[in-house]
Amino acid sequence: MKLIQHQELSSSQASITFSSIPQTYTDLLLVVSARSTTGNDAFVTFNGSTANFTSRHLEGTGSSAGSFSRTDNFAGWFNASGATANTFGSWAMYVPNYTSANNKSFSIDSVTENNATTTRQFITAGLWSNTSAITSIAVSTSGNMAQYSSATLYGVLKGSDGVTTVS
């Protein structure tokens, strides 16, 4: 796994975007520490597109668990503006084979950090039904991404060590 780029917001803005993603890796890992200026909902965009996303989610609230499906680019939760001050949600997305000519599946784990009874943890199975290689990724929220929100993009490259075999 190699670092591609890290961004941290010096002021709130609509999204954190990674553009011109190198096409030289096999998989991508995006790790985000984020807070919204309004509500919790997190969204992901590939190549500027919010279309053709589907997902299934398992949600835990600390007192109950539930599951739901979405047909938009919803991608879990970040900390909302009403969460405990100076706390940011943790969010990570893994996208295998992001340059392939297949539809793009992805996995997300996210949790909000809140010193209160209202918090959420999600695991997410996502699919972008688009055969284009992913060249840009943006994360956003229902409001703006708050100051000091950060995101780090890593590339993972498959290969062989010449010793391990697979069949």
Binding site: T26, D27, L58, S67, F106, G126, V166, S167
Partner: protein
């Protein structure tokens, strides 16, 4: 130059359907292993996919949780699983398996699995292999229906 923290060990892209993927001759020089799969598995009924170490189909146990888009569930098993909640699926899925201290000979081996198929489920599992032997091979075994052509499986070593 960024440091590479995942060392690629082996990878395969299926050119024909296959019911069992096996990584062998895994070196003992890493701390942990990461197995990443991007796969299609067209099952006609509830089917599971097993995870095995050193070809051992015994000595496994697991606890898992799943969301299918309408309800959540938690379950246990007496094998190790790569995917527990099966069903009809024609879309690509992901699985990430993290195996901690795989070469240690003083402990049982634990692994964490995230298995996601967006048309079917999102799933997280914890497996235990009740053996103190070092892991030298990893098998992903379909219960019945094989993995589809184009499915990929890649193994990485992580240095402590």
């Amino acid at each position: 130059m960024p440091t590479n923290t995942y060392t690629p060990l082996a990878t395969i892209t299926l050119t024909g359907t296959d019911s069992e993927i096996v990584f062998t001759s895994i070196p003992s020089s890493y701390r942990d292993l990461i197995l990443v799969a991007n796969f299609a598995h067209t099952a006609n009924a509830e089917e599971v996919i097993y995870l095995r170490f050193n070809s051992d189909s015994s000595n496994g146990s697991m606890v898992g949780m799943r969301g299918n888009g309408s309800s959540g569930a938690s379950y246990t098993g007496t094998s190790m699983f790569f995917s527990y909640a099966g069903g009809i699926s024609t879309s690509n899925g992901n699985a990430i398996v993290q195996i901690q201290d795989y070469s240690a000979t003083d402990k049982h081996k634990t692994s964490l699995v995230r298995c996601d198929i967006s048309t079917l489920k999102t799933e997280a599992m914890a497996n235990r292999w009740a053996s103190t032997a070092a892991v030298t091979s990893i098998s992903v075994v379909c219960q019945s229906t094989p993995f589809a052509i184009g499915s990929t499986f890649s193994l990485y070593g992580v240095i402590a």
